[in-house]
Each structure stands twice: as structure tokens, then as C-alpha cells.
């Protein structure tokens, strides 16, 4: 299986274990910990798998955000929990922390052009991430409203 080659498997494993740590730091308990951490691995796997199909990182981020938001929304429906609690953790591998760091590094070294480029790129990644997630959550919200049978019960995520 191609999926279990180290280039795909290892980063996803690292993302998963790292997310378990962050899940605890946000006071998530019990079974929700592995579920939310798995979302992080799912997002990163989609990001890696989409690399040959899409030519730039921003599009990859967008696709990965859609996949991980869909995962979180489905899990939220199954577990009857707010989707936010899963999203909060699953998003971590995709948060452009590296972008913030390299932007700062260019600024410190006085490389203005690279600083601006990296800064814009980081903002674009954050935007793609937010847009992908919002697309899925809004679609899900409309879908629930459409299928609403118990007006007061089913509107919560």
C-alpha cells in the first residue's frame, strides 16, 4: 500500500501524536482525544495526497481544510458534540506556524522582499484554511436546517 510508505505515514503519525498533546492542553477528555487528533492526521494526509494533483500549496490547504472539516462535522453528528471541539485540535497541523516563523526570520535578517512574499503566503494559507472550513460548516448548517424535524433540538452542532 502506498499509504504506508514513510513519506505519507510518518508525518501523519507525528501530527496525530502532537494533536493528542494539544487536545489535553485544551482540556478534552476521554474518547474525544483520539477522535479529534485523528482529524489532524486526516487533514495532513489529504494535503500530502493532493500534492501531485494540484500545483500550489494554497490549493492543497483548501482541499485539506475541506476534508478535515467534513471529518469533524461527521464526527460531531455521530458523537453529538460541538464540531468546534474537534476542529480546534484537527486544524493544528495545517496552521501556518512555520510561515509565521520564517516571515519573522526574513524580517530579522532585513530581507524585505522575501519578508513580504513569505508574509503574503502565510496570510493566503490562513485564508484558504478558513475558507475551506467555513464552506463545509455552512453547507452542513444549511443541510441540517433543511432536514429539521425537531426545531429546537437539531440546530446545535
Amino acid at each position: 500500500m502506498e499509504l504506508f510508505t514513510p513519506i505519507y505515514f510518518l508525518p501523519c503519525l507525528y501530527a496525530f501524536v502532537g494533536c493528542v498533546g494539544f487536545a489535553i492542553s485544551f482540556n478534552i477528555h476521554g474518547q474525544e482525544i483520539p477522535i479529534s487528533a485523528l482529524g489532524g492526521a486526516v487533514g495532513w494526509l489529504v494535503y500530502l495526497l493532493s500534492a501531485p494533483l494540484l500545483d500550489n500549496e494554497v490549493e492543497q490547504y483548501f482541499v485539506a481544510a475541506i476534508a478535515l472539516a467534513a471529518y469533524c462535522e461527521i464526527m460531531a453528528r455521530i458523537r453529538k458534540c460541538p464540531a468546534t471541539s474537534y476542529l480546534l485540535i484537527s486544524i493544528f497541523p495545517l496552521v501556518p506556524g512555520a510561515g509565521i516563523y520564517y516571515t519573522m526570520e526574513h524580517a530579522v535578517h532585513g530581507e524585505n522582499e522575501r519578508f513580504l512574499l513569505q508574509g503574503m503566503h502565510t496570510l493566503a494559507l490562513a485564508g484558504a484554511l478558513a475558507l475551506g472550513i467555513l464552506l463545509v460548516t455552512s453547507a452542513m448548517r444549511m443541510w441540517t436546517l433543511f432536514h429539521r424535524r425537531h426545531p429546537l433540538r437539531s440546530r446545535w452542532h
Partner: protein, 254 residues
């Protein structure tokens, strides 16, 4: 159910206050309060929430209007508490119980609530920092150094919370400590790549979902909440960059 408007205001404003303090999104707080008001038979109630304030107002049958304003202090995110209050809210919306009972149940949720002890939290930072250093491409030794930096950030955040520093200073200090640790570890030859170690540990501080939530509010037309949170997310990102940048440029001079 006929109910005293003052009591209902107490309940809804307290619920809104507590939900906000767990880090719930604005729309969740506003919707929850609206559903509770409706469940108790009040259709003339209004609620307005922004990140640091909740206002609930309602008019009783005689035409007299009352309002409660609650200011929201600086708070973190506690997902398990958020889920408990969300569940509680669903229940009282489904079957309204007398207000004093509802208030007592909220207090019970607060006292029964379990928070991980500090050593477990440090362990979580250790795992988080270490594995994200590996994730960003670091070697095994970078992973170990990232774990050390994660713990250093955890300790630094604890000191900052003890000193009641605001979130900007808190993040700035966290970033500086992470960069300083990484610098020392790489200098002594324990770590290989300064950047992977720092980035891994910095993941503890990044704004994460805050930017997404801000954009959600803006798109929904809650411009005050949205811009408020977007600025907050940018400010935290800037604090991270400033904290690490300060240490890096100081190291360059030496």
C-alpha cells in the same frame, strides 16, 4: 410555564457568561440564550454578544423592560466544560426546569468539572512540542529538543498566568523562551536545526482556530465580533514573531 422575568434574566445572563468563559463562539452563545428564552415562553427577549460582553434584555407582559449586562474577563478555552454547558442547554431547552434548579445545576457542572493537573499539562506540552518538531522535518534529536522547549513554554505560560499578564505579553514571553531554549540547545550541539525546534514548540502558542472563527463572524455579519477576533489573532501572531525575533536578533549581535 409562567416565570419571573428577573430570574430568567439571571439564568440566561449567567449561562451566556459561563459559555463565553469556556471559549464558546459568539453565535453559539447568542443562539443558546435565544433558545432558552423561547423555551421559557419569552418571545420578546433580545441578546447581543461580542467577545467581551453579553447583553440580555426582555420585556415582561406588563411592558416593563429589564436588561442584564455581563462583562467577560480574559479567558482560555476549556472544551470539556463547553460540552457540558452545551449539553445542559439542550436539556433545559427541551424540558424547562425551575430557574433556581437550573442555576444549581450549572454550579454543579462547575464543581464537578475535571481539569488536568499541571504535570499532565506539562507532559502534553512536551508531547506536542516534540512531535511537531518532528512533523516539520526535524531529526530525532530536534524532536527531543522541541519537547524540552515545549515544557519551557508551559512553565513560562504558568508564570505569566500567575502574574496575570495579558495575552499579548504572555505569547511574547512564550515565543522568546522557545527561541532562547532552541538557541541554547543548538549551540550546545544537542539540537540540529534551530528552525524546526522553534516552530514545533511555537505550535503551542499559534492562534489556531481563532482566525477561522473571526472570518465566520465577519461573513455572518457580526462585524464587531469578527474584526475583534481577527485583530486578536493577528496580534497573537505578531507577538510570537516579536518574541522569537527579539531573541534571534539579539543572538545575531552577540
Amino acid at each position: 410555564m409562567l416565570i419571573d422575568p428577573d430570574q430568567l434574566l439571571d439564568l440566561t445572563s449567567e449561562l451566556g457568561f459561563r459559555l463565553m468563559c469556556t471559549g464558546a463562539e459568539i453565535y453559539r452563545v447568542e443562539e443558546s440564550i435565544q433558545y432558552v428564552l423561547r423555551a421559557y415562553g419569552v418571545h420578546t427577549g433580545e441578546v447581543f454578544a461580542i467577545p467581551n460582553c453579553v447583553i440580555v434584555s426582555l420585556t415582561d407582559p406588563s411592558g416593563h423592560a429589564s436588561t442584564r449586562v455581563r462583562r467577560i474577563p480574559a479567558h482560555g478555552t476549556d472544551i470539556s466544560l463547553l460540552e457540558s454547558y452545551n449539553e445542559f442547554c439542550r436539556e433545559i431547552t427541551h424540558t424547562p426546569i425551575p430557574v433556581p434548579d437550573a442555576l444549581a445545576r450549572m454550579d454543579a457542572i462547575q464543581t464537578r468539572h475535571f481539569v488536568y493537573p499541571f504535570p499532565v499539562l506539562l507532559l502534553a506540552y512536551l508531547v506536542g512540542g516534540g512531535f511537531y518538531s518532528l512533523f516539520f522535518g526535524g531529526t530525532l534529536r530536534d524532536g527531543l529538543c522541541g519537547a524540552v522547549c515545549g515544557v519551557a513554554i508551559g512553565l513560562c505560560l504558568w508564570v505569566m498566568d500567575y502574574l496575570r499578564a495579558n495575552s499579548f505579553i504572555r505569547t511574547l514571553a512564550g515565543g522568546a523562551v522557545a527561541a532562547l531554549c532552541a538557541l541554547v540547545l543548538v549551540d550546545t550541539g544537542l539540537g540540529d536545526n534551530m528552525d524546526f525546534i522553534t516552530i514545533g514548540a511555537l505550535m503551542i502558542l499559534v492562534p489556531g482556530i481563532a482566525f477561522t472563527n473571526a472570518l465566520r463572524d465577519i461573513m455572518a455579519g457580526d462585524l464587531i465580533s469578527g474584526t475583534n477576533k481577527a485583530v486578536e489573532a493577528l496580534l497573537i501572531a505578531t507577538a510570537i514573531a516579536l518574541g522569537t525575533g527579539f531573541v534571534l536578533s539579539a543572538a545575531q549581535r552577540l
